[in-house]
């Protein structure tokens, strides 16, 4: 066990855990941020996607010790009330079915639009490739990313 200093959604806090604990479980069980989901545990589905210093990463493969003092953003930290342009686009297109994968999808999309504010369909598909949606909402996700890109460029 070790005390690790974290900076999650702009809030500095410390946790006392095994330093190898994946960030996913620290978020979900120690910090009560359950929007980040467990899907596979091997970085193969994207459900646990968060931002580490603005980059989309799979939190199930990120030991908490390697995130010490780095800026972490989770779905809960994107906006106060669901009004980030990407979240708004998701609502406009009523994307979710079961909804389980959607916070991971949104976090990947936000990182994509940060790096590439006006992606083509192929660039969206490539960037989102690691995020599985078992319900098959891929077309709505693509449409929502494009809507968000438009609204961000206004």
């Amino acid at each position: 066990m070790a005390v690790i200093n974290l900076n999650v959604n702009g809030k500095k806090q410390a946790v006392d855990v095994d330093p190898q604990t994946p960030m996913l479980w620290v978020l979900r069980e120690h910090l009560n941020l359950v929007g980040t989901k467990y899907g596979c545990g091997i970085a193969a589905c994207g459900a646990c996607t968060i931002h580490l210093e603005g980059m989309a990463v799979r939190s199930c493969q990120l030991p908490v010790s390697s995130a010490e003092n780095k800026a972490i953003t989770t779905i809960e930290g994107l906006s106060e009330n669901g009004d980030h342009p990407v979240q708004k686009a998701w609502l406009e297109h009523d994307v979710p079915q079961c909804g389980y994968c959607q916070s991971g999808q949104i976090m990947t999309a936000v990182a994509l639009l940060h790096d590439n504010p006006n992606p083509t369909d192929a660039e969206i598909e490539s960037a989102m490739h690691g995020n599985i949606c078992r319900c098959g909402t891929y077309l709505r996700i693509r449409a929502a990313v494009k809507t968000a890109a438009k609204s961000q460029s206004l």
Binding site: M1, V17, D18, Q20, T21, P22, W25, R28, E29, N32, L33, V34, G35, T36, K37, Y38, G39, C40, G41, I42, A44, C45, T74, I75, E76, L78, S79, N81, G82, Q87, W90, L91, D94, V95, P96, Q97, C98, G99, Y100, C101, Q102, S103, D121, A122, I124, E125, S126, M128, H129, N131, I132, C133, R134, C135, G136, T137, Y138, L139, R140, I141
Partner: protein
């Protein structure tokens, strides 16, 4: 006089008997942080001080806010929005003043609280309308009494009661208290379809905002003070059971509370239909946190041994069956060989019309083809999990499951606790697809909690989830068709089976459309457990049948849509035999619509098209799939889909569901497969089990609904099965090669490279 639709309320059981007037916000039917839709301050609504319950489905606040209780579990089929829309329609309220709450399992108040068979809207239609209409009637009577006028003179609009002559008006909230004291009417008038204001309009998912902000909604998000985390270790292979556990080092690991074995079912217990359980004895590991439990799970040394042939007793909806579970470590190669033997053997005749043997003998041309598909894992994105808190007096269970009513019985028996001491709360399901109908994980959670005397949350790892069985069975079907010299279809023969069940539906199209018809089934037993998977059996037989009809049309020199319409015209005018399970005109209707909307009669260069149509779960669907090959890579630019599900309650949500079913169908047909080697499932996570991804989905899907006023039918399953046929038929056009064995990906990519 205007035609009136009157519903008798007598079917209403306790849900329509007035229960109680709840004061002070006493939310009798609500629960915990996971359940209700909290008011969003942005919506400008304030929580009422008092709620007045008019029946089991709704309560009205003094300020006019309405809570509608959604009875069924929500797993992405959007019933938590669509079912309350039906109540709101008949209650005649403004949708923006409606809050939706999830009902817990309550067999006294509600009927059929489960996900399965695409039946929620179809079977809920009447009671949901009745709930809204009877409450509206009680509000009108309350207003009539208050204003001393005839109830007939009271009208409503969007949550307000009016008396035109006197000019009086009052919000529902003002009359709610009085209405709650009024006798439930014996008979109420419901709206005519043309009067609908909410049904037939697109309303957004009531939990959309919670989903996109990451609020706790799913079973796996459940948390309680003092809650422990539990995981299980199950046998690595089918045909194996627990022999011994060496847990001394794992027990001493940080955070570990206990390690023990549990037996999910008593040997003497007669299992119910949904009590399928692959591994009835498993090892439980319990600790403080998931990471600590995961580490201990890895350190555990468990020995397994093969089991012998045995029999369990199962009650299938009233009759007791002996289910034989054969010993052995099975492999996919043997499965395929064993199924292939049935191609040439006679099987069990399920339906026979005319004289098929003679017709085949006298035919000018015979076509015979065999189709296969593998076992499939459901792979819900939220792995199996459940929260349990079992004490000596009561059991509280919270989590995602599809058929709580059936699971409740097993739990009551296993814990030796009466049903009234058991509470089951349904959380949003992170996918179901049939898998969560078999809630052995709930029993496991309850037994672990009981042993630990603490609240626990059981979580399956992805590997546990994917290798724990309850798969879609593997299937095979052999079709034969006979054409006469004029290319008329004179005989049709289907022989279908699988491990361990047959996918045959003997009375579906083209039964009824062909004079000489033979349907046979067979099955091979196995110890690999299976269960419902989105559109059970249809999910294979539709694709096989629709691929075969494509070949029949080609052999007859006919357009594939024209051939189907010709057969359906026959079935409509002069059907063969009895018990044909479809309406030929509605079937033809979706084919006509898809022909028009897809531009079928105007072929485009380099676009290879396949068509399919199917009827299952009371809904008719036809699809045209377009395929391209660019730089040796197959692509799907478009799927056009026509649906007849009667009245469409929430069109955009229904469209979303159809889009998802199409993506899911294509994905499973191209990539889905669970294979076995000596009992061992060969795939245990998403690095091995291929799931369709963004770039592989169709570029566009357009969904068109037949407009009619027929009572609505389901949307969760029917768009899934036919797309597999449309895909296979488009692949043939694209590759000049027929594809018979799923998953198609390897053959398709090989063909693509050769093009």
């Amino acid at each position: 006089m205007m035609a009136q639709t009157l519903f008798k309320t007598s079917i209403g059981r306790r849900s329509f008997l007035k229960t109680s007037v709840l004061a002070g916000g006493g939310l009798m039917l609500s629960f915990s942080w996971l359940g209700g839709c909290q008011l969003n301050p942005k919506d400008g609504l304030t929580m009422p001080k008092e709620w007045f319950e008019l029946n089991g489905y709704l309560k009205i606040g003094e300020n006019g806010i309405v809570t509608i209780i959604s009875p069924n579990p929500e797993g992405g089929q959007n019933v938590k929005t669509s079912m309350p829309m039906i109540v709101a329609e008949e209650l005649d309220v403004d949708w923006k003043n409606v809050i939706v709450e999830q009902a817990p399992l309550n067999t006294e108040l509600y009927t059929r609280q489960f996900i399965g068979g695409s039946q929620a809207i179809r079977q809920g239609w009447r009671s949901l309308r009745l709930a809204g209409a009877s409450a509206r009637q009680m509000l009108r009577e309350a207003a009539a009494q208050a204003w001393q006028v005839s109830v007939e003179e009271i009208t409503t609009e969007a949550g307000t009661l009016f008396h035109k002559t006197s000019g009086k008006s009052a919000g529902y909230g003002e009359m709610a208290s009085a209405a709650a004291k009024i006798q439930v009417p014996k008979e109420v008038k419901v709206k005519e379809v043309k009067e609908f204001k909410i049904i037939g309009t697109s309303r957004k998912n009531v939990e959309g905002r919670k989903i996109i902000t990451g609020k706790p909604l799913f079973g796996i998000d459940t948390k309680r003070d003092g809650m422990l985390i539990a995981m299980i270790v199950h046998p690595p292979a089918f045909g194996m059971k627990l022999k011994s556990v060496e847990d001394s080092s794992a027990k001493g690991m940080p955070g570990i509370k206990d390690i023990f074995t549990i037996k999910t079912f008593d040997d003497a217990y007669e299992r119910q239909y949904f009590d399928t359980c692959t591994f009835p004895e498993v090892v439980a590991v319990v600790g403080n946190t998931t990471w600590e439990v995961l580490n201990a799970k890895k350190a555990l040394k468990v020995e397994w041994e093969t089991f012998s042939d045995h029999t369990i007793s199962r009650n299938a909806f009233g009759s007791t069956q002996a289910v034989d579970i054969p010993a052995g470590l099975e492999s996919t190669t043997e499965h395929m060989a064993n199924m292939a033997q049935w191609m040439t053997k006679s099987a069990n005749v399920v339906r026979r019309d005319g004289n098929p043997e003679l017709a085949f003998k006298n035919s000018a041309k015979i076509i015979e083809r065999t189709y296969t598909a593998p076992f499939l894992a459901h792979n819900c994105m939220e792995p199996m999990n459940f929260f349990a808190h079992v004490t000596a007096k009561k059991a509280e269970l919270v989590g995602p499951l599809q058929k709580p009513e059936f699971t409740e019985k097993a739990l009551s028996s296993r814990l030796g606790m009466p049903l009234e001491n058991i509470e089951i709360h349904m959380t949003r399901l992170g996918g179901g697809f049939g898998r969560r109908s078999y809630a052995h994980f709930l029993l496991e959670a309850a037994l672990i909690s009981q042993k630990m005397d603490a609240p626990i949350k059981l979580i399956y790892t992805r590997e546990d989830d994917m290798t724990s069985g309850i798969y879609r069975p593997t299937y095979s079907a052999t079709y034969r068709a006979a054409l006469d010299a004029d290319n008329n279809l004179i005989a049709f023969h289907v022989k279908a089976g699988g491990i361990p069940e047959s996918p045959l539906y003997a009375n579906r199209f083209p039964a009824g459309a062909v004079d000489n018809y033979l349907a046979e089934d067979w099955s091979i037993n196995s110890n690999i457990t299976v269960g419902s998977f989105r559109a059970p059996r249809s999910n294979f037989i539709a694709g096989a049948e629709q691929s075969f009809l494509d070949e029949v049309a080609e052999a007859a020199g006919k357009d594939p849509i024209a051939l189907r319409l010709e057969l359906l015209a026959r079935a409509s005018k002069n059907p063969v035999g009895e018990n044909n399970e479809y309406e030929a005109n509605r079937y033809a209707g979706v084919l006509e619509l898809v022909r028009e909307k897809s531009g079928w009669d105007n072929a485009k260069p380099h676009i290879h098209r396949g068509v399919a149509a199917y009827f299952c779960h009371n809904t008719y669907v036809a699809q045209v799939l377009e395929m391209t090959f660019e730089n040796g890579k197959p692509g799907i630019p478009r799927v056009c889909c026509a649906i007849d599900c009667g009245i469409v309650v929430n069109p955009d949500a229904a469209t979303n569901l159809a889009e998802g079913a199409i993506v899911d169908g294509i994905g499973n047909a191209l990539y889905g497969a669970m294979t076995f080697k000596e009992g061992l499932p060969e795939k245990n996570n998403f690095n091995k089990y291929r799931i369709i991804r963004h770039s592989e989905a169709p570029k566009s899907i357009d969904v068109h609904f037949v407009q009619n006023e027929i009572d609505p039918t389901g949307m969760g399953e029917p768009a899934f099965p036919p797309v597999i046929g449309a895909l296979a038929n488009a692949m043939y056009k694209a590759t000049n090669k027929r594809h018979y064995n799923q998953p198609f990906v390897q053959a398709l990519e090989t063909s693509a490279l050769r093009m």
